[in-house]
Symmetry: D2
Subunit: 139 residues, 4 copies
Amino acid sequence: MIGLPPTFIRVRYSDVDRTGFLYHVNYLEYFEVARSDWIRRFWRPYKEIEDAGYALVVIEARLKYLKPARYDDELEVHADLAGWGRSRIEFNYRIQLRGGDVLICTGQTTHCFIDRSGTPTGMPGELRALLDSHRTEGT
Amino acid sequence: MIGLPPTFIRVRYSDVDRTGFLYHVNYLEYFEVARSDWIRRFWRPYKEIEDAGYALVVIEARLKYLKPARYDDELEVHADLAGWGRSRIEFNYRIQLRGGDVLICTGQTTHCFIDRSGTPTGMPGELRALLDSHRTEGT
Amino acid sequence: MIGLPPTFIRVRYSDVDRTGFLYHVNYLEYFEVARSDWIRRFWRPYKEIEDAGYALVVIEARLKYLKPARYDDELEVHADLAGWGRSRIEFNYRIQLRGGDVLICTGQTTHCFIDRSGTPTGMPGELRALLDSHRTEGT
Amino acid sequence: MIGLPPTFIRVRYSDVDRTGFLYHVNYLEYFEVARSDWIRRFWRPYKEIEDAGYALVVIEARLKYLKPARYDDELEVHADLAGWGRSRIEFNYRIQLRGGDVLICTGQTTHCFIDRSGTPTGMPGELRALLDSHRTEGT
């Protein structure tokens, strides 16, 4: 598992529903914002990945909602790389109040690299080399 | 399992991302639109449930993305009640092109009834009676 | 001004904010849904316009919020073509409760046709001919 | 006019449309994020205003789209208080690339204070006093 510092997201007015709590769908978007930051910090901006002819499509997502988040709360969203294969990678997530220790939401997403034609493809060699170097370190 | 006719949703321009495909987060919102329709048809508008002091909070969600949907596609979103307990209910979903038979996305959500104080509570008696009558029919 | 039957939109749970009213930003999206329907009915799906190498970019938008809309309200959104020039077209909007006569929101948007390179361009000839035939009728 | 440092917003993947540009509706949401920051810095979090029984409803909005913004661009969104009356306040906006000087979008919004019953009401006395002190300074 490769974790990096979390992404901080303040809950926008548009993100809560009429209960005043963060609308459940938006957690999945917060996962993406944190995952993009992880990829940017670990390797390079996701935009460059798409510009190079790859896309990382979501093939599975799971979320557990544990506590509500409210409008204007500042959240820390942790995205950790949880595993990877030839063309797949998987992330784990956890969301807490900034500086807090109570879990608000956890989740996982699984992704597959595809090429411009939409066909699953092995991950970019540069990323694989980077991940392999981490695997060795982890041993 | 209690199914009803599907909800038809046309993919809005705002719902696709720069790949031209339906953005993965929005499937979870489409689930909700179909679930609301299910509840409206089976029992009563969800709005009345909230106005009566109950809320149905999502405690878990899972999605599998099988094929992409595109801008302007007309989808049929099936929400089926998959199970229920004292305070919980669970829905299964499947999304296809309208009139098509290829699965685009499947998923499940689990929900818990809470009262105005946010405490889990048994489901409204009227709904329970209605569900029980279906269980009997199903035997 | 060329009007067509309105588009009906039910206010989604995700579209209201913590006041329980339709979030002000989403009116602008409802305008787009109605405008797309107008274009589809009057001429052809907007998707085909983009596929043919044109895009219709928004260059100006104005909204007046007169009355609130609520979760689960069914709205009728009227988009009327208000004017057009060589490369520009303009729409007027009004939103009411379905079957109602109280205005909830009004607005205008101005659009410009651009080609694949992003350069403003004259509108597609087929559309111009169609509009010109209406202008004549209107005289 | 009372300006404060801008709000920085990175364009999210979910915020662009299939042209790869920021979807026009989302500018209006970016205005709100910047306006909330302005209110927080100038006076207090908007959340406290709602908790105190006031709401600041949008009664008019205007946007001019000058240049496109792209996925992953980091924008600076300037919200400036442009004027105020007994119960109304007005903001001007401009959006640029962070550190850039080319205008991407400009706009205005007009707001009215309402009380819990939804009736227009004078602005909170504390805010009025704060604004009046700035008017004097500005003379």
